[in-house]
């Protein structure tokens, strides 16, 4: 049977002289500490979401604990405000790395009116900020791969060196849009990176029932692009794979498929009970694959992270989260009078006292006929 092994990405090696950690991939100590900080902040933000949910302050959480190593590593070499990120609901650490602030993330959890992602219209996890080149997330999985491909196609036509990176779960990669997007990118050799964050489950469905192959990366060969597997607890290997793919794309050498093997440290979402379908053993072993302690130990072994720096970082992360939470919580809910806005670009906003909009329409309510009022414009 014709099977292929995807190019196994080099594991990052602990250098002979541990104090040179990262040097082989061009990362300084400051970079490494910054990456660790990003992971710590992402984790702190993420943990807070779950606390807020248990405290009944936000009805729904979906997040990325366990994915932070891959996310920070892969995104660290992107150019903020220049490249494009097309995320998914677990992308907390990717987004923080790409410049989205904890306040902005918390606004989405509280669905406040000033939430830049959607003004409180979307569920938490559906981020997107146009000023940061972060595309708006929807719920149907895999659609975003085509959007990322389209952005990359535009980059190529416009002859810019913008790189687009997009993310998807391993389960979602079995949607048709995955095939169609990668094929188009392969045909036109587009500057796009497809990251599959493989945490072994699609809600409850394990890899064995989900995918005909254990490694999604093997599919890269079918689209004439490298298929690279990385271990999500090996932050430096993730960085290296990300940077290589970003550099390739920027040089016009085409797309890359990267599969990051990660663990899902939480349930799928706050609506999920994972003990129903995961054994205690499976859950326990996941904990050994938490990228935070692994990377911390690496930094400690390299003499880059002492107790004090770490304590400061933790305190700082806590402060950032505290601030983001309090601030976001204090913002106002959206005004229902704005709910009908932004359906179309060019139609005048309807009035909230219009019975059409309160759901009771009746002959003689007057005004111009309904449909041309069926949406608000930008006003």
């Amino acid at each position: 049977m014709a099977t292929t092994k995807p190019a196994p990405a080099a594991k990052s090696e602990t250098p002979a002289d541990p104090t040179t950690l990262g040097a082989d991939v061009g990362l300084t100590k400051d970079d490494l500490l910054e990456m660790y900080r990003l992971m710590a902040v992402a984790r702190a933000v993420d943990e807070r979401m779950w606390i807020l949910n248990r405290a009944d302050k936000i009805p729904f959480v979906i997040s990325g604990q366990g994915h932070e190593g891959a996310q920070v590593g892969l995104a660290y070499a992107l150019k903020k405000g220049h490249d494009w990120m097309v995320p998914y609901y677990r992308s907390v650490a990717s987004l923080i790395t790409f410049g989205m602030s904890p306040r902005e993330i918390m606004l989405a959890q509280f669905a406040r009116g000033v939430d830049p992602s959607s003004g409180g219209r979307q569920m938490p996890g559906h981020y997107g900020i146009i000023e940061r080149n972060i595309l708006s997330v929807s719920s149907p999985v895999a659609t975003q791969l085509l959007h990322a491909t389209g952005i990359a196609w535009a980059s190529k036509l416009k002859k810019t060196d913008v790189v687009t990176i997009t993310y998807i779960g391993e389960g979602s990669s079995n949607q048709g849009d995955f095939h169609e997007g990668l094929n188009f990118a392969g045909v036109h050799n587009l500057p796009v990176i497809y990251v599959v964050e493989n945490n072994g489950y699609a809600i409850s469905v394990p890899m064995a029932l989900q995918s005909a192959v254990a490694d999604i990366a093997i599919r890269g060969a079918g689209y004439n692009m490298p298929g690279v597997i990385i271990d999500g607890i090996d932050v430096l290997a993730c960085y290296r794979a990300g940077r290589e793919a970003i550099d390739r794309a920027r040089r016009g050498e085409g797309p890359t498929l990267i599969e990051a093997k990660v663990t899902r440290l939480t349930a799928h979402s706050s609506d999920d009970q994972q003990t129903k379908y995961r054994t205690a053993e499976d859950l326990e072993s996941g904990k050994d694959r938490d990228p935070l302690p692994v990377f911390r130990d690496q930094l400690r072994a390299a003499g880059m992270l002492d107790d004090e720096t770490e304590a400061n970082m933790v305190a700082e992360a806590r402060k950032v989260v505290e601030d983001a939470t309090d601030w976001a919580e204090a913002q106002a809910d959206p005004d229902p009078a704005t709910a009908q806005r932004h359906v179309y670009a060019d139609l005048p906003p309807a009035r909230m006292d219009d019975p059409l909009w309160t759901g009771v329409r009746f002959i003689g309510d007057g005004g111009p006929w309904g449909v041309l009022r069926d949406s608000g414009g930008e006003g």
């Binding site: 009805p59 699609a202 329409r361």
Partner: protein
């Protein structure tokens, strides 16, 4: 006779049917070990095993397309789409394939599939976990579309759907899963597809609805009664084929119709009901045909103040009926 929730009715009916007929298979995302994200298939995996209760890969076109093939080969698949909002990747398979197999083969091939999906808003599900999708499917000849509003009807209609020889879309309002309870007899009763039901008799105005809105219309009728307005409520139950007789008879009696649906108004399912009434019961009409619907925005927003703004509710229905009654 047991009292049970709406979702218990769905779940127990699935189990009973699977015991009755070995050719029934349930498939979908998370329907197995997890028992479905709403637990509509809870326990089926333990009882019937992984062959007949299959956790599929995350691809809806595949779920429907494989069900079509399996149905052609003699199985009776009961696929689940996790949320009706996620049915669209399978739209082509449903419209171009399942709905047309019989017609295009001049009656040779059939597609006995019952596709279940939870739909509807009011549960903080936002744009992509709240949608009403029935208008798209009720427009498609070859499909049957069923939306029950009580545990009793859920059982009777789910049985009929599974035993039916055509593709049936069976939509369950997710807000009703645990909030609506009712009597469900133990016997093997069925409810024919194509029969609406007068769920409350009245003389002044007819409220026509289905799903959660059929429940809300009953609540609205209560509100109206205290104002001295006598509302008749017709629960459509099967949207295609539609039982025009029953709803026309009611409108001919009251002379006034309020059509209620949660979906956005323009081109929604209730437009067809209004068109039918305007065509067939024109001579009996004593007032315009009024629609109470969701507003024409691309989805139910998440934040509760926005969601409340979106959702039709008993007060809004009653308000429209009150004004129509006074017309």
């Amino acid at each position: 006779m047991a009292v049970m929730t709406f979702i218990e009715s769905v779940r127990t009916t699935l189990a009973q049917e699977m015991r009755r007929d070995d050719s029934i298979v349930v498939l979908g995302e998370d329907v197995g070990k997890k028992g479905g994200v709403f637990l509509a298939t809870d326990g089926l995996y333990d009882e019937f095993g992984g062959d007949r209760v299959l956790d599929t890969p995350l691809s809806e076109s595949m779920i429907v397309g494989v069900s079509i093939g399996a149905a052609v080969a003699g199985l009776r698949p009961v696929p689940e789409i996790q949320f009706a909002d996620f049915i669209f990747p399978a739209f082509n398979q449903i419209l171009s394939e399942a709905a047309r197999m019989r017609f295009r083969s001049n009656g040779a091939f059939t597609c006995p599939i019952t596709l279940r999906a939870p739909y509807g808003g009011g549960v903080h599900g936002a744009l992509y976990h709240s949608q009403s999708v029935e208008a798209f499917f009720a427009h498609i000849p070859g499909l049957k579309v069923v939306i029950p509003s009580t545990p009793y009807d859920a059982r009777g209609l789910l049985r009929t759907s599974i035993r039916d020889n055509d593709p049936v879309l069976f939509f369950e309002h997710k807000k009703m899963y645990r909030s609506v309870r009712g009597d469900v007899p133990d016997d093997d009763y069925t409810i024919p597809i194509g029969q609406a039901k007068v769920t409350r008799e009245g003389t002044d105005v007819t409220l026509i609805a289905y799903g959660l809105m059929a429940q809300y219309s009953l609540e609205a009728a209560e509100l109206l009664a205290s104002d001295g307005v006598s509302a008749e409520v017709v629960d459509v139950r099967t949207l295609r084929p539609l039982d025009g007789e029953t709803l026309l008879a009611s409108v001919r009696k009251t002379g006034k119709a309020v059509v209620v649906y949660e979906d956005n108004r323009f081109g929604g399912y209730g437009a067809e009901i209004a068109a039918i009434v305007a065509e067939e019961a024109f001579e009996s009409l004593d007032g315009p045909i009024v629609r109470v619907t969701g507003p024409d925005v691309p989805g139910v927003p998440y934040n509760h103040v926005l969601e409340d703004w979106f959702m039709p509710n008993p007060e809004r229905i009653a308000e429209a009926a009150r004004r129509l009654a006074a017309y």
